[in-house]
């Protein structure tokens, strides 16, 4: 029924000039529909984070066209169409947890009365309601990242960009956070672009896995994840889950050998 949230055609990005020139991305064609959960996976240097930053207009493309939410990426950023979560929680030490979630609302001039209610709603959503008055340093890494997610969603953006958000967490916390993200995604219906280099994570979370290969960064494969929408511990033991993991692994390997041969 609706136009894609992200639409890229022949997208390319070159960093630096002359001798120091490196081609980060070449010929990216990608479409992300509303409500999709798309993972970008690939070895380091494949430009997956750069692609995410292009979508967020944190860097500008060298070639090709990119439409986000039906607009120029820049306009889309100015309209605050997306929320972003980085590998580090990037919480501000001098603000309480609640005030951290309120930060985007302050910048967007939400009315004073509305901000605390919104923030509390979001903290409820990530199950941190009891920690509103804590300071970031009093929380564990996983909790900090949940605050970052609450902050990213506080203004109800159409799109959530996540750049290896669980890369710094231990395996146990990581799995709990994945469950958490799926729940939040189910409740908000936001489209998600998720950068990761963990194959099981990509398969477990996504509706679609985009496999990328390096030098120059490009999309080498796309794998639809046909697991049931409701995913839990049993999913991780589902034979189909294992098949998909192997499929992604092989796609990654093909991408590697393809690039070393060229």
């Amino acid at each position: 029924m609706s136009a894609p949230v992200v639409e890229a055609r022949g997208l390319g990005k070159v960093f630096g000039t002359g001798e120091a020139e490196t081609e980060a991305l070449r010929g990216i064609d990608l479409e992300i529909a509303e409500g999709d959960f798309v993972s970008l996976i690939g070895p380091s240097g494949c430009g997956k984070s750069t692609l995410l930053r292009l979508i967020g207009d944190l860097v500008s493309p060298t070639t090709g066209t990119l439409v986000v939410n039906g607009k120029e990426p820049r306009q889309s950023r100015l309209d605050r169409d997306y929320g972003i979560v980085f590998q580090s929680a990037t919480l501000l030490d001098w603000r309480s947890v609640q005030k951290n979630v309120e930060l985007p609302l302050e910048i967007m001039d939400f009315p004073d009365a509305e901000r605390p209610t919104r923030a509390r709603e979001m903290l409820d959503l990530v199950q941190l309601a009891g920690f509103a008055d804590h300071h970031p340093w009093q929380l564990s890494g996983g909790m900090q990242q949940r605050v970052a997610i609450a902050r990213a969603l506080a203004f109800r953006p159409a799109l959530l960009l996540m750049d290896e958000p669980f890369g710094a967490l231990d395996e146990m916390t990581r799995e709990a956070m994945q469950q958490e993200v799926l729940r939040v995604w189910g409740e908000t219906g936001t489209s998600v672009v998720f950068v990761t280099h963990s194959i099981p994570e990509a398969v477990f979370l996504s509706t679609r896995v985009v496999v990328m290969s390096p030098r120059p960064g490009r999309i080498s494969d796309e794998i639809m994840v046909d697991l049931p929408p409701k995913r839990d511990l049993d999913t991780r033991e589902d034979p189909r889950y294992f098949e998909l993991v192997i499929e992604v692994r092989e796609a990654l390997r093909r991408g590697e050998s393809g690039s070393s041969g060229s």
Binding site: L58, R80, F86, T90, L92, D93, L103, P104, W137
Partner: protein
């Protein structure tokens, strides 16, 4: 390696102080009484030992007081001349505090401008680092002639220039050394530059600013006393110390130095209190829970 070297290059006395504070996590954390005793007992012991040995040796060998005054003589003079030296101390403190306020204000204004305009920063920062290598105290005779030998403003001006450089260099660094992810976050929220300054850069710069203020508080008294050496009213600490020393009234001079140190420490502690009040969130003040 290279990165660290480049970082270390642009340093000032502030880093030296800041690094010391990093080494001793004493003041901020709550410690058990036993830990406090273990921590400070050696220092207290050393203090008493030095005083006793000092007093004992000067008595034993009959050292004349103009060579090395006995602690008891200094204490004596401290109480006998208290009106005189505290009066002088207050006048010197006035010069120091006045210069401190002027220098710090100018420094903060420059830092904000330097953080905002790249061109300005590229022109001003190297210049400041070069000027920071000059003996700024040498300006004292110029200011004495410009503003008048007896005008306290001529001393304040010296203090202001001395204080200006460490505060400016450090605050600018704090305003610029922001986590790139925080800048990306603000960009993703389409925040304006002034919003980035207000919500990210200034809070991030506060620790740098305060560590430079602590140095500046101590420097300001030293600078005021140095400026007084170059002439001016006689009823200030610098002149009092020189005059007493020339008359070989060393206990008097030492008592005045004691006043100067007390004032310096109080000034320093005031800054420390302001720091805790303004940045209760900072690492060094966190209580472990």
């Amino acid at each position: 390696m290279t990165e660290r070297d480049d970082q270390i290059q642009e340093t000032s006395i502030t880093d030296v102080f800041a690094s010391f504070e990093g080494d001793v996590p004493a003041s901020g954390r709550r410690s058990s009484p036993a830990r406090l005793v273990r921590r400070y007992l050696p220092a207290v012991f050393a203090f008493l030992a030095v005083l006793l040995v000092w007093e004992g040796l000067t008595r034993l060998f009959g050292v004349e007081s103009f060579v090395l005054s006995k602690p008891s003589e200094i204490l004596n003079s401290f109480s006998e001349t208290s009106g005189l030296i505290w009066g002088a101390g207050m006048r010197t403190l006035f010069e120091a505090a006045g210069g401190f306020v002027i220098g710090t204000s100018l420094a903060v204004a420059t830092s904000l401008a330097a953080a905002h305009w790249v061109g300005f920063r590229q022109g001003v920062l190297p210049l400041a680092i070069v000027l920071n290598a000059t003996p700024i105290a040498a300006l004292a005779p110029i200011f004495n002639n410009w503003f008048g030998l007896t005008n306290p403003f001529s001393k304040m001006a010296v203090v202001a220039v001395v204080v200006y450089f460490p505060v400016m260099i450090n605050t600018t660094r704090g305003l610029l050394e922001v986590d790139p992810a925080e800048l990306e976050l603000m960009r993703s929220l389409a925040a304006s530059p002034s919003e980035v300054t207000r919500r990210i850069r200034i809070p991030r710069a506060l620790p740098y600013f305060f560590s430079s203020l602590k140095v500046a508080s101590v420097l300001s008294l030293i600078a005021a006393i140095i400026a007084e050496y170059f002439g001016g009213p006689q009823d200030v600490l610098g002149q009092y110390i020189v005059n007493r020393a020339q008359l070989f009234q060393f206990p008097d001079a030492w008592a005045a130095i004691l006043v100067a140190s007390i004032l310096g420490v109080v000034f320093y502690l005031l800054i420390l209190a302001a720091e805790r009040w303004l940045m209760p969130w900072h690492v060094s003040f966190r209580t472990s829970e």
